[in-house]
Amino acid sequence: MTNFFDNKDRVGAFLILAFSLFYLRSSLSIPVDSFDAEIGFTSKTLPIFLGSCALVISLLLLFISFFQSEGQSISKGARDYDWKPVLALILLMAAYVMLFNYLGFVLASALFLQSAFVLLGERRLLVSISVSLGLVLFLWLLLTHVFGLYLDGGTLYRVFVS
């Protein structure tokens, strides 16, 4: 079983196969307009066609992957990968997205940038704080005062102001 998933083409094809099945199943339940049915082209015609094609091709790719003499090993390449900072960055971005409305553009963005700088190894605090705050404030000024765009101050800001 371990070997089954140690092939790039196979895992990719397997993922798309799963997606195609889900997509095809959802496409079959798209409601149909009676007028569209008359011309033989409804809201679900193209999705069903595309889902079926993707299903066939992913199966074909999956089938071919078993006959590859040189399987593209995932484990070989993954050994050199730096997984920890990537996972940490993804979690950081998720936190940024979740806190964006609460903390507002300036605070959430400055915190995100500062944390990411530190995470990627920047140890000069004064430099990193200046860059994160400087960039965010510059963008905020540019967007709100020059281009006249509205950027939400966030729930926290409104709590303090009111």
Binding site: Y23, D36, S43, I64, I90, L120
Partner: protein, 504 residues
């Protein structure tokens, strides 16, 4: 016609208008470099500024902003692999690898020269063929557009290396599938799973930022290239005026592709709805198909032709898109739609009568567009060494800044933080497929063409009472279908032929 051109030239060369085009190009380049703020946003942001100006000056400022933003978009695609606009996606395929291999200056210079060449040839074609092309573009119906979109999908072959064809086709299908999410051409909701965020479909910017910028930045960290290697970044950003110079061989190599892509880009641009993005993909695909085996191997790894072709086609198409706008009053793209709004706000009514009733306005728009192109070359070439310094920013700063700007780019278009969650999910999936060596560009191509493909197929079927006879009964459609079949089958037959001759 000569009188009209002279009036246009006279208007464009007044000191105030020259200043406008300079300011426009500078502002446009700056705005275009920010992911998410492409030519459409740049022009939209500038329209209120132009209200106080006379129509000619306002249009000249907008033209400058337009060309500046297009160039700015290419700059961020080349330097940080963040194509903020769809037209710059194909530029990133070879522009970014070229910058990564220490030729950032040359890549930016090729982009600038190619854009200029595309704009120049486009402008010449515009001068020569405006009345004729207007009637041709009118003869294009839904069936022709559908065939053209299918032909666009064949460009997928251009992104597939050895043994990658099936994967590229599969990724194109994934892109086409993603394009079906949201409102269908009849206005009904589908595949949204009751999620209001998906009711308008997935935005192109979100998908391109997630698959290119976000996944690229995460991939840099994954491969341990997140920490700054001083000598490497210095080498990449070490751009001086000498490194912007192209050798005679390089000029020779890109000259023909630039010529061909200009004509192709212009013709695609003339068709309303086709636009610069499809032109850039078709330009890239055409040149890859025409390239020698040796040149073909360099595509996707920093090929000058792979960079010059989409850049030229993109700019020539931008010029071509003014044909339906000015002669028919039909905006062929989002950018020209905004331009149409600006023209109307000045009291200028584009359409078939504009050419006859108001030749001065017609020609001053064309002359000012071209002037924007020239100014951009003069203004931006000397700035390239300084722009390339972006690459010297330490990676521990650059990577988070790319992530932040990509997220902001998407947020600034929708002002909806829920879209950021979708973007993050797509970014992570894109990273997985990058690790698995599945090409992501075909997915984007499928996504871009998907909506238009379905829309035109549906309309064609409506006109033809549900019959598919239009595929062979309409001469233009049949020709495009035939060319598509030839393009698809040529590699198959050439492979069979090669094997057969090898056996002998």
């Amino acid at each position: 016609m000569i009188d009209g051109i002279l009036i246009g030239l006279q208007t464009a060369f007044t000191p105030i208008n020259l200043l406008m085009v300079l300011a426009g190009c500078f502002a446009g380049t700056f705005i275009g470099m920010l992911p998410g703020l492409g030519p459409v946003s740049a022009i939209a942001l500038m329209i209120p500024v132009t209200y106080g100006l006379d129509p000619a000056s306002g249009l000249i400022l907008i033209s400058g902003v337009y060309y500046g933003a297009v160039f700015g978009g290419s700059t961020s695609a080349i330097l940080i692999n963040a194509p903020g606009v769809s037209g710059a996606v194909a530029t990133a395929f070879d522009g970014y690898p070229m910058a990564q291999s220490g030729n950032a200056g040359k890549a930016l210079a090729i982009a600038a020269y190619s854009s200029f060449a595309g704009g120049t040839i486009g402008a010449i074609l515009l001068l020569l063929c405006v009345p004729f092309l207007a009637s041709v573009s009118l003869s294009f119906q839904s069936s022709e557009y559908f065939a053209l979109m299918v032909f666009g999908c064949t460009a997928v072959a251009a992104f597939s290396g050895k043994g990658q064809v099936l994967k590229a086709v599969l990724m194109t299908l994934v892109g086409l599938m993603l394009a079906t999410v949201g409102e269908d051409p009849s206005g009904a909701q589908r595949l949204t799973f009751g999620n209001p965020e998906l009711s308008d479909g997935i935005s192109f910017l979100l998908l391109s930022m997630a698959t290119f910028a976000l996944a690229e930045a995460l991939s840099m960290v994954l491969k341990g290239r997140s920490k700054s290697n001083d000598s490497e970044s210095e080498e990449m950003a070490n751009v001086n005026f000498k490194s912007l110079k192209l050798s005679r061989d390089e000029i020779k190599e890109i000259a023909m592709p630039v010529g061909r892509s200009s004509v192709l880009g212009f013709l695609v641009g003339v068709l309303p709805g086709a636009g610069a993005t499809i032109a850039s993909f078709l330009g890239y695909g055409m040149e890859r198909n025409l390239a020698s085996q040796e040149q073909k191997k360099r595509f996707g790894k920093g090929s000058p032709i792979g960079l010059a072709a989409p850049e030229t086609a993109n700019n020539a198409a931008s010029t071509g898109s003014f044909v339906p706008l000015l002669t028919l009053g039909i905006p062929g793209s989002a950018t020209t739609a905004i331009m149409l709004g600006a023209l109307l706000s000045y009291g200028v009514q584009p359409g078939p009568r504009l050419f006859i009733d108001n030749p001065a306005v017609f020609w001053s728009v064309i002359v000012s567009m071209y002037l924007g192109n020239i100014v951009l070359l003069i203004l931006n070439l000397p700035l390239i060494p300084y722009i390339a310094k972006i690459l010297q920013v330490p990676r521990q700063f650059l990577t988070p800044i790319i992530l932040f700007l990509s997220l902001m780019g998407v947020y600034l278009v929708s002002f909806n933080s829920a879209e950021l969650s979708i973007m993050l999910v797509i970014g992570v999936i894109a990273l997985v497929f990058r690790i698995l060596d599945y090409p992501l560009a075909p997915m984007l191509l499928g996504f871009i063409l998907g909506g238009m493909l379905e829309d035109n197929l549906r309309r064609a079927l409506l006109i033809w009472d549900g019959s598919y006879d239009f595929l062979w009964q309409r001469p233009i459609t049949a020709t495009i279908v035939m060319v598509t079949v030839i393009v698809l089958l040529t590699p198959v037959f050439s492979e069979i032929f090669k094997r057969a001759s090898g056996k002998r």
